[in-house]
């Protein structure tokens, strides 16, 4: 069974805390509820996106810097 991790906010999605930093979560990694999986930039302010639920083998539906709408799926986990 897969579970969706969604964006609470609209804006621009970032997988990394800084352009030259590694991603918050690598593809295929496991995450726990509350883990930061990315940032959403809304009108020039940055907000952390936390996983609402944990799971294994994370697969991102968005690329770094993709636009995202509120409620859109950012990633799925098993």
């Amino acid at each position: 069974m897969t579970k969706d991790l969604r964006s609470p906010l609209p804006g621009t999605f970032y997988r990394r805390p800084a352009p030259d930093a590694p991603p918050f979560v690598a593809d295929g990694a496991s995450v726990s509820a509350g883990d930061v999986i990315g940032l959403v930039e809304v009108m020039k302010t940055f907000h952390e996106v936390k996983a609402e639920t944990g799971g294994a083998n994370i697969r991102f539906a968005l690329e770094n810097e993709d636009p995202v709408m509120a409620g859109a799926v950012i990633a799925t986990v098993d």
Binding site: G11, T12, V42, M43, P67
Partner: protein, 463 residues
Amino acid sequence: MTDPSGRTLFIANRGEIAVRINRAARALGMKVAQAHSDADADMLAARLADVAVNVGPPAAKKSYLDIDRVVAAAKGAGADAVHPGYGFLAENSGFADAVEAAGMRFVGPTGATIARMGDKVAAREAAASAGVPTVPGSAGRIEEPEALAAEAARIGFPVMLKAAAGGGGRGIRVAETGEDLARLAPQARAEALAAFGDGGLYLERLVRNARHVEVQVMGDGARAIHLFERECSLQRRRQKVWEEAPAFGLRPEVRDRMCAASVRLAEAVSYRGAGTLEYLYDPATEEFFFLEMNTRIQVEHPVTEMVTGVDLVAEMIRIAFGAPLSLRQEDVRLSGHAIEVRVNAEDPSKGFLPFPGICSRLQAPPGVRFDTMLYDGYAIPPFYDSLVGKLIVHGPDREGAIAALRDAVDSLLIEGLPTTLPLHAALARDPDVAAGRIHTQFLEPWLEANPLGPSGAGGGDTR
């Protein structure tokens, strides 16, 4: 050759300033081509333009900030000139050069002037050599920690650590003591390197209770004039929220000195177009110190237009087409007092959380200037600045302008989203604001002491 009438202006910006530039272009009889990202196809400026040109994906980096794409779009639209607005590529010397190299006119100064005045240290040097006072600070950029300590001791604490390539308040730290300096310098250097790709720092004395006063200049490359000054001390997180013209409580001699100094600097760098010299004003000593020059039209330019009657955006376009300044210094006269407040799509009751919602209904008070990109049913995209409009009032004096502002704020209706209007309603009734007891550090403690109630998110009245 110098007549912009019938020519095409490409607007390389979005939001309210694109609408404002469109209005100036129309007043000059120009055609308008408007840049827009995928997220901005239905913005007001795109609807008002003769041609709307897609310049890429929502992320500004891939659209409004992509020099090659923007220049190609302007060229493809047959533009004769490009207006950069503010923000985005407005102060990018490479963009100005690329526009000119592609055979179009850049509405602003030359790339060389932008580069020179955009470097804080070079700008201070230019100011000093034009006889414009600067804040006591380090002679240039400093790389060594030991040199920082020695310079700070010479300048006198408290000092501010600033990024040589910085802007918008980023990378600024205050050191009260030598220990503070030793602790904060590595952080400031790392942040400057990350933000600007340049870790160079400089030091400046911190003036307590300073006001932010800035002078509007306009040049044609040979001659420059000033259009008096603006007061912009009410700031939150170093972003202006309320601006006035002229600055209050300035003795005529002080105003004359500040404006004359600004013209000297503008002429010393052969300035072309609209520019602003920002000063730190110490009301206790009546000293003013040059901070930096913004080589573009400013967000708050309307207050200057309201007290001088000059259309700054139209004038800068005329100058870009090779016309000399249309005004002599003695033609520019101050009339009354103007105030602008910035209406942002933010919820003041929730720490100014941005709210990119849908404006279900807009009703602006008749006879009051409201520069905006909003229209009924407009969905504000989340990808850009939260500024959705600027409410601008004029009165015979400051008291009259504040009274007009109270009325205008109370009768401006923006339904469907929370805005910063409740902040302005409260500031317009504040006795310290009315008495001019404000400075650049005034607003944040004031917000702590005067928490604002919820505004009308979700369709209510924003009052």
